[in-house]
Structures are given as C-alpha cells and as structure tokens.
Subunit: 343 residues, 2 copies
C-alpha cells in the first residue's frame, strides 16, 4: 500500500474562495456580526473537483491513499481574526470530512486549526478534538507562524504551544508543521516561506527539550525538511558544538520528514542521510509545482518515481517509506486501516 | 591554487567586542555624540588571533587564499543606527585591510557595509568605494535583512537597492548575500536565519528581472545556497509554472553558490545539480561549526576534503571550483593575482 502523507485540497470549487472573500470583505464593517454560514458545495461538485485532479493522479501514479487536509496557502491565519479563522477552519475541515466519506479508500483526513496571530492556541483544541473524534481525522497541520511571514509569535518550543501538544498527545495524533501564505514581500510562499519554516522548526526542536516534556509528540516536517537534510552535517555539528545529544537521540523519535522533493538527486540525498524510519512518502499533489519536468517527461511532483529509482533501497525500506512509517507516525491511521482490513 | 571565497574574522581580540559593547551602551544616552574612535589592537594581536586559527587551518587543509571579511554575526545591522553602523563597519573593514596587508599571500579583503534598517542604502556607497579603491578589496557582503530576522525591509530585487548595485557594477565587485545575527527568537542565527536568507534571496532573484537591469551584477549565495540545490527540481518547476525563463538563462550568469555544506552527501548533491561554473569553494572557517565530525574524524567545515572525494569531478572541474570560478566572479581578485604572479 502506498500512503501519500501530504495532500491538500487545492482544487476546490469557486464557492470556497467566494466564501472567504465575502468573509474577509465583511471585516471592513466593524459592526458586522460573523456567522459561520455554509459553502453551498454539492457532493457532485466535490467529486468533479477531485476526479480529474488528485484521484486521477493517484490512479496514474499508482498511489493508494492520501492523508488529505485543507489547502495550506489559503489557511491564511494572518487574515481576519480568531472568529473568522474558526469559521473558515471548521468549514474547510468539514469539506475534507465529506471528501473522506465520499472516497473512503482514497482519503483520510487531517485538519487545519483556527489559529490567529497572538491568540492563545487553546482556541484550537475544540476543533482538533472534533475533527479527530467526530470525523476520524488522524492528524493536524500546525502553522508555526500564524502571522504569515512576519514571525511575530513565539517559537514552537515555547510553552505557549503546550496546550496544543497536550491535546495532540492525548488524542495520539501528529502534526505536520506547515505555514500558509506569506504577507511579507520578502518571502514567496512556496519558494521561500515554506522552506524557511521547515528549516526554522527543525532548528527550534534541535535547541529545546520539548521532547523530554512530550516523549510521544510527533511532527512531520514537510517539503523534505526544508534545508535540513542537505545540511545534515551542519546540524549534527551545531548540536555537537552546543553540547546537545546526537540528533537521533535528541529528536529522531519525534521528528519525521516527507518526500516532497521534486528531483531524483534530492530524494537520493534524503534517503542517504536521514534514517529510513524517519521518511514518509508524500507528493503534495496537486500543489506547489504543477508542471512536467522536461528533463524526465514526468510531473515534478510525481515523487513516487524518484523513490522507485533509488537503487540502494531494499524492499523493506521502500515499504517503510511508502506505508509502514506513516502507520507508525499516524497511529489512528493504522487503527483505521486495520479495522478496514478486518471488515 | 585553492581560494576559499568565504571566511570571516571570527577570532578577533577582545577589544573588538569591547568597542562594540561601549558603542551600543552609549545609545542609552540620547545626548551622546558618537565618534569613531579606535580599537587599540596591535599587529601582534592580529597575528596572534590568526596564527592558531585561520592560518593554521589553511596550512593543515592545504588551502591557499581566503577571501576575508568582518565577522558576519557581529555586523548586527539591526543594533544601533546609521552612525554606529558606519563607525563599526569602517573599523571592522580597516582591521581586515590590516590583516590583508600583514598576510598578503593568505587573505584578500571583502567589506561589510554600514547598513541600518530603513536607511537608504546609498549610505553604503562611500564605504564600499573606499574599501575597493583604497584597500584593494574585491567584493562586499550585502545583508538582505538589516532588521536582523524581522525582515521589515524590501526584497533584494526592489529598486531600493539599485544604488548599491550600480556601484557594484561600476566597481566590478560581487556581493555575497549574507545576513547577520537574528533578534527574532524564532530564528537561530547559523541554524535557521542564514539558511532562510540564502533560500529567500534566491527565490527573490528567480521572480525578478533584476539581471536584465544589471546583466553583469553578481551574487554569491553562501552556505551552499541554503535549501536551493536540494530543491532544485522545485525551483525549476516553480520557474516553469510562473512562465519564467529556465534557471540557467534567468540567473546562472549572475548567481553563484559556495561550498559551505558540511558533509559529503550535501557536496555531492551540490556538484551534481548545480553547474560546475556556478560553484565556488568555501569553508567559512572558523565559523558556524567548529567541531570534528565523529563519523569522519575531520572537521565538519573542512569542505576541501568533501570536494576531493567527489569521484566524478574532472581535474578541470575541480580547478574551476577551487580557483577559476572565484577569479571569474571576483574580477578584481583575478587582476590582483595576475599582478602578483608577474611581480
């Protein structure tokens, strides 16, 4: 079985953007009373938005199941306030739940959280619990910078975030560390902000004792870990200089990398320097890069092809990357698949 | 000849820090009138600070010449104001000049600039010109984020920076894009802020027509280009999606990467995906990582060893990385070395 641990609903019908535009426009009226409302998207529209996109690509590429979450770039926690974030997160998560219900063989849900800059992240606990307990979601996306590229909040290792971690541990769900769009003109979203956040989060973890406080807490750092595997020697060396434990002992029970690296040499480096147990297959399709690589004739984000080409992986290692590690990092996914297999 | 294009004076005598501390402490007194003053460092102290550090490592590692600039982390443009930055930059650059005069075979100078957040970078032109024309420096370090991790200024591709680029083109000197320390608690300096700035600058270049406006402008992106080579497929794909020209045509006449990547797999990736003509040897010693890698028994930052081990490099390619590319990217270095060879 091939599990893609990183897919966003990037192909939603226009009602989704229209809702968000109306919601944000209403912020201009200080007397506006926000109500959640609804998106008015039919099941047929959901199906149509997926059939020629994620589902088609799953079939073509031979992947089975995508761990699916709301579009990352439009989480945009920096826009609006805690109430608009709450309504927007709920509606987006409900769409994911409907998709997972329509296509139970193809998608399992991960939620976005109603984060808002400067707002105590305890406001996220209810939605996380609802998505896990009521919808059967298996994880969440946690935005390390709800300010959208201004980085005004505390690091992920600050106690500010601990209520979220307590709930994650209680529910036994991991978080993917995933920023959203950037309102800082220095940072292109998918070309800079995403990579930077991945690198930044890893370095925060390296310097802290977070995983002493939460030994079972788990994070996936997406986009191949940003700059980290390419600079693995640097990180080993910095940890050593700082008298930190070796990286495997310090954080590799808790931190995992996905395979959203869009060329073979990058995937080869990832699988060479990072322990196989810490690598989860992912493509992020349909996502940041949508074209076909003229050098290969295949989609840049068809990352399964790269992994298939890494000559030194054993069948056991490949099975871990494609399935086993995801089932270990997402225990609720494993339970779900075990139940399904017995049914 | 082996040219290390990226070395900072990280081992200065204590007077250097003491000057800076006094200068910054004086900011608390609004009536204080700043004068440049002097550092009170003797030639013997300069020699002592280098003999058992950079010079010893050059000898031990078999490198010849280091392109040497003031310590990056203590540029700290976010502290103080334009006047303190001016005095601090001048004094630091003068030290580099004295070092290059004491050890003309071992060091060639690159200057820091008196940047200050929100201050028109025209204030840097005089110091740049002084360092190049009076001291014989061959380049400069340009901080893309003088706010020190707050990223409050415009991107490097904004016309805000054009006066600096005009002067660089006029003087025929490149800039290394190099941030300083971070006052943002999210960003560890050498583990996150440096990498992020490298990645960010590349993405800014990718989206702009800067090199149409300045066809001969040249930048070195340090630390192996941040996340860029590891994600080269992503960047090729984003450029393609955005209808930009291919990367080689778009920016590889103007953008170069150094080899400050502290393990063999990273250096192998760099030399596999980036054209050899765009790679300049560098180690950044004595710098971000100072220990010995227990996996190899050698210093993490002894990057020459990694390049020596890349099996597929031809002698011609190695010569480009070690010498030829630096002489091409730093035309004033080439002229200097040619003069020296004739003398």
């Amino acid at each position: 079985m091939i599990i893609d641990c990183h897919g966003h609903y990037t192909t939603g019908p226009r009602q989704l953007d229209q809702y968000r535009e109306r919601q944000l426009a209403a912020l201009k009226d200080p007397s506006h009373v926000f109500t959640k409302g609804s998106l008015g998207i039919s099941d047929d529209e959901l199906r149509a938005s997926l059939e020629n996109a994620q589902l088609k690509m799953q079939r073509e590429r031979g992947t089975d199941l995508t761990i699916f979450s709301p579009r990352a770039s439009t989480m945009a926690h920096h826009l609006g306030n805690a109430i608009t974030s709450q309504h927007w997160a709920e509606l987006c998560n409900e769409l994911i739940h409907r998709i997972c219900t329509l296509y139970p063989d193809n998608f399992v849900g991960v939620c976005m959280l109603p984060q808002s800059p400067g707002v105590d992240p305890r406001n996220c606990l209810g939605e996380l619990e609802r998505c896990v307990k009521e919808f059967g979601f298996v994880g969440c996306n946690l935005n390390p910078d709800p300010s959208g590229g201004m980085w005004t909040g505390p690091p992920l290792t600050d106690r500010w975030w601990y209520p979220v971690y307590e709930k994650m541990v209680e529910l036994d769900v991991p978080a993917m560390v995933h920023v959203s769009s950037s309102c800082n003109p220095n940072f292109h979203a998918t070309g800079a902000h995403y990579m930077n956040a991945d690198t930044t989060a890893f370095m925060q973890f390296l310097l802290s004792d977070l995983f002493k406080d939460f030994p079972t807490l788990k994070f996936i750092i997406p986009h191949g870990g940003g700059a980290v595997p390419y600079h693995w020697g640097r990180y080993r060396g910095i940890a050593q200089d700082q008298k930190r434990p070796p990286l495997d002992e310090l954080l590799l029970n808790n931190v995992f990398f996905d395979t959203c690296v869009y060329h073979l040499p990058g995937i080869e480096l990832l699988t060479r320097v990072i322990p196989i147990d810490n690598i989860l297959f992912a493509s992020e399709m349909v996502g940041a890069v949508r074209g076909i690589d003229p050098e290969t004739g295949h989609y840049y984000d068809d990352t399964k092809r790269y992994i298939d080409q890494v000559s030194w992986l054993t069948p056991q290692e490949r099975a871990k990357i494609f399935e086993g590690n995801a089932r270990r990092v997402f225990p609720r996914l494993d339970a779900h698949l075990s139940r399904r297999a017995k049914a």
